[in-house]
């Protein structure tokens, strides 16, 4: 070794430039670096002093640089380790690296304990009963003292649970145990029992087919369903076909046999809603007319769903309107409108299935103040406007679906699915009315854009530079209805079809929809075509009933521009969701009222 030093000195004599400072530093080597810390076990926030032992040859440097991997920090020069807060007891690796030779290192470990203690874990899942394929959200609370870890890991006896979030699902009926286990102290666990039942059938077929047999003029762009109407609390029921699916109104309205409909009081004697000895009747306003009939009580069955007594109601049954009920007085003079639609030909259907965004058809406008000409109290052959409480009003059947206690019901809205229609129209289209939003595997929002509505159930549509802030999506309107806003060629038809547009050639148009609130600020552009209604109706020997290109004009609205009414033309080739007010969509931040597509 001495020889090396001499050689180095000689080298310096030969080349002074290369030798730098100390005369002997280039001859030293590091052989071993050792590290130790005291104490070797500390809690969060405590410190441990680490020291290094460096062995080598020659005039080696004993200096080291300290590093720590995880669970704390260490001063690079001084070796003072400070433990950070950890979720559960773990180890930190401390490394000393020779500053002279970074390939020489020494390591040790320090045990870092949590500063607290876990005493117990509690957990729950909501809902505790799900239909096969539905989701339930499980949450846990860890109880302890000091700086304990709040984290748990989820496991399930069968099915699928997210170990971090606790969201559970299973397709096989049965009862299962979902367990939350403390990450800090695995001896502390909390089991939750979740029952999986067979799913309620929530898909009702719908058809666009020209309407019920016997119409003088076939219905265009009407989506119809078949529903079952029962006397509450009995199995006395009648099935009614060709009930119009209407996302623009609220409540079930069935045309009585006496008015040309199917519902026969001899077969299904529905009780009437009464107030004392008075019968409650209704003048229900539609945009093109009104229906007059009693408020009757029924149970409505659709697919596997049952709509019955609303929350807070004191009498059994869902309030519906029995249009043309022959047992009540005739239409009072204050019930006016452009057309009395309380008959088969004017209604064009055997009933209306109103599944819009409201829970009741009238709401607070009928509960206090001056009674509007909507609900009537009838006695001695005459009827007068009356106020009516929310629980007595004609109610959205979806919001009144019977829900198994503790389970996720399909009562927060509907999804209308209709396939695309060939240009020029077609005779018949089949689709589905699916109950619930995000409640089963067939009604997830997926990639649909959610558009909030305002308190009047409107959002905004911009067309040809005109902002229409009283716009809406309505399966019960049989076309797009909007102001032309000066768009070239978008002219109304003449004569008996003046409520439709008759451009000389097919127009390809575009409009932008906007959420009514700033809550989510959603926007979306819709491309659509408008054809000549006269031509569309006469195509195929007048046999077509479904038209994607049917549109018509609309009136100006103060402070709104106008309404853009996205009627059934819009629904073809789309999944369109209508969410009921105040109803959340599980697993999302969305709460009705909204539309999504």
């Amino acid at each position: 070794m001495r020889l090396l030093g001499i050689l180095a000195a000689v080298c310096c004599l030969v080349s002074l430039v290369a030798c730098g400072g100390g005369s002997s530093s280039t001859t030293s080597t590091i052989t071993v670096v050792g590290a130790s810390c005291n104490p070797t076990s500390i809690a969060a926030g405590q410190t441990s002093q680490c020291t290094a032992s460096v062995s080598g040859t020659g005039s080696f440097s004993s200096a080291v640089t300290w590093t720590a991997s995880g669970n704390g920090t260490i001063t690079p020069a001084g070796g003072l380790f400070t433990a950070s807060t950890v979720p559960f007891t773990s180890q930190a690796t401390i490394t000393a690296t020779s500053t002279q030779d970074s390939t020489k290192t020494g390591s040790t470990t320090i045990t870092v304990a949590t500063a607290g203690t876990v005493n117990s874990v509690s957990a729950s899942c909501n809902p505790t009963t799900i239909q096969g394929g539905q989701l339930t959200a499980c949450t846990a609370t860890v109880n302890g003292s000091g700086n304990f870890s709040p984290n748990v890991t989820w496991t399930a006896s069968a099915g699928t649970v997210n170990p971090i979030t606790g969201v559970y699902t299973n397709t096989t009926p049965g009862t299962y145990t979902i367990t939350a286990t403390s990450q800090q102290d695995p001896t502390k666990t909390a089991p939750v029992s979740v029952t999986v039942v067979n799913g309620v059938s929530n898909s009702l077929p719908i058809v666009v087919d020209g309407g019920p047999a016997g119409l003088n003029v076939s219905y265009a762009n009407g989506a119809f369903a078949t529903i079952t109407v029962c006397v509450p609390g009995t199995s006395t029921c009648q099935t009614i076909d060709h009930v119009l699916v209407d996302t623009g109104s609220v409540g079930v309205r069935i045309l009585a046999k006496a008015a040309g409909g199917e519902l026969d009081p001899a077969l299904v004697p529905l009780p009437q809603l009464t107030s004392g000895s008075n019968v409650i009747a209704q003048c229900n306003q539609f945009v093109d007319g009104f229906t007059w009939g009693s408020v009757s009580l029924a149970t409505i069955q659709m697919a596997g769903e049952t709509a019955s007594t609303p929350l807070n109601a004191t009498v059994a049954g869902l309030p519906i309107q029995l249009i043309g009920d022959p047992t009540i007085p005739t239409v009072p003079s204050s019930c006016t409108g452009m057309k009395n639609e309380s008959n088969f030909q004017a209604l064009g259907a055997n009933g209306i299935l109103g599944v819009g965004t409201f829970q009741q058809d009238c709401g607070s406008g009928c509960t206090s103040g001056t009674p509007p000409n909507v609900y009537y109290s009838c006695a001695s052959g005459s009827c007068a406007p009356t106020l009516l409480g929310l629980a007595q009003q004609v109610t959205n059947p979806v919001s009144a679906f019977t829900v198994t206690n503790g389970s996720l019901g399909d009562n927060n809205g509907v999804l209308v699915q209709l396939p695309s229609v060939p240009s020029g129209g077609t005779t018949t289209v089949s689709g589905s009315l699916i109950f619930g939003i995000g409640t089963q595997t067939n009604n997830a929002l997926g990639s649909a854009t959610v558009f909030d509505t305002n308190s009047s159930a409107n959002f905004t549509t911009v067309f040809n530079g005109q902002t229409n802030s009283c716009s809406y999506i309505d399966s019960g309107s049989n076309a797009y209805f909007f102001q032309s806003a000066g768009f070239p060629g978008l002219v109304a038809c003449t004569g008996s079809i003046s409520s439709f547009y008759c451009p000389t050639s097919l127009l390809t148009l575009s409009a932008q929809n906007q959420s009514a609130t700033n809550t989510n600020g959603a926007t979306g552009t819709v491309s659509f075509n408008v054809g000549n209604a006269n031509t569309l109706f006469s195509n195929n020997g007048n046999a077509n009933n479904a038209f994607m290109e049917l549109a018509g004009p609309n009136a100006p609205v103060p402070n709104c521009g106008s309404s853009f009414d996205w009627g059934l033309s819009f629904f073809y080739g789309r999944n369109v969701f209508t969410a009921i007010e105040q109803q959340p969509v599980t697993g999302t931040s969305f709460v009705g009222p909204f539309w999504a597509y």
């Binding site: 452009m338 409107n458 008996s496």
Partner: protein, 160 residues
């Protein structure tokens, strides 16, 4: 009983009409129907039990009635005193027979004659009148006017 009410419009309605105008305010007002002459309005006094604001522009006067159940009805009166247009909006339809007056029956017949093939907004332009109504449950709006009675220079889009 006439008593003044504060200047201005609730809910920001019709501010556009307010600017170049004279405002007359009455409670429990007189009312006229489409096609009537305002000299006859006393006959229908107080039927709507609402609040009336009358706003004059250069070409016509607008009478706006706020009905207690939430509807707003406007009548547009020409300088010669004729109601040439009416418009309405709100959570319910107004009594259309009252609003449309002698035009109610002809308009009903025109609606009945429509090959509507379903439900939705109505738009009728006959030689004698225009009738339009749109909206949905809890939100209706509409208007009607008589083109021959509209004063020269008035844009019919102002009838709303």
């Amino acid at each position: 009983m006439n008593r003044p009410i504060p200047f201005g419009f609730p809910n920001g309605r019709s501010l556009r009409l307010l600017l170049p105008s004279v405002v007359l305010a009455l409670a429990f007002p007189a009312w006229a129907s489409l096609g009537d002459n305002v000299t006859s309005v006393q006959t229908d006094k107080a039927r709507m039990k609402g609040t009336l604001r009358s706003v004059a522009t250069q070409r016509y006067v607008t009478h706006e009635i706020q009905v207690p159940t939430g509807q707003v009805v406007r009548e547009f009166v020409s300088p010669d005193g004729n109601v040439f247009g009416v418009a309405w909006e709100g959570p319910f339809q107004p009594d259309l027979q009252q609003v449309l007056g002698s035009y109610f029956e002809p308009m009903k017949q025109a609606v009945a004659a429509q090959q509507r093939r379903g439900h939705g907004p109505i738009s009728i332009e006959s030689s004698g009148f225009v009738f339009q109504q749109g909206g949905h449950a809890r939100d209706f709006h509409g208007r009607a006017y008589v083109p021959a009675m509209v004063p020269q220079g008035v844009d019919v889009t102002e009838i709303q």
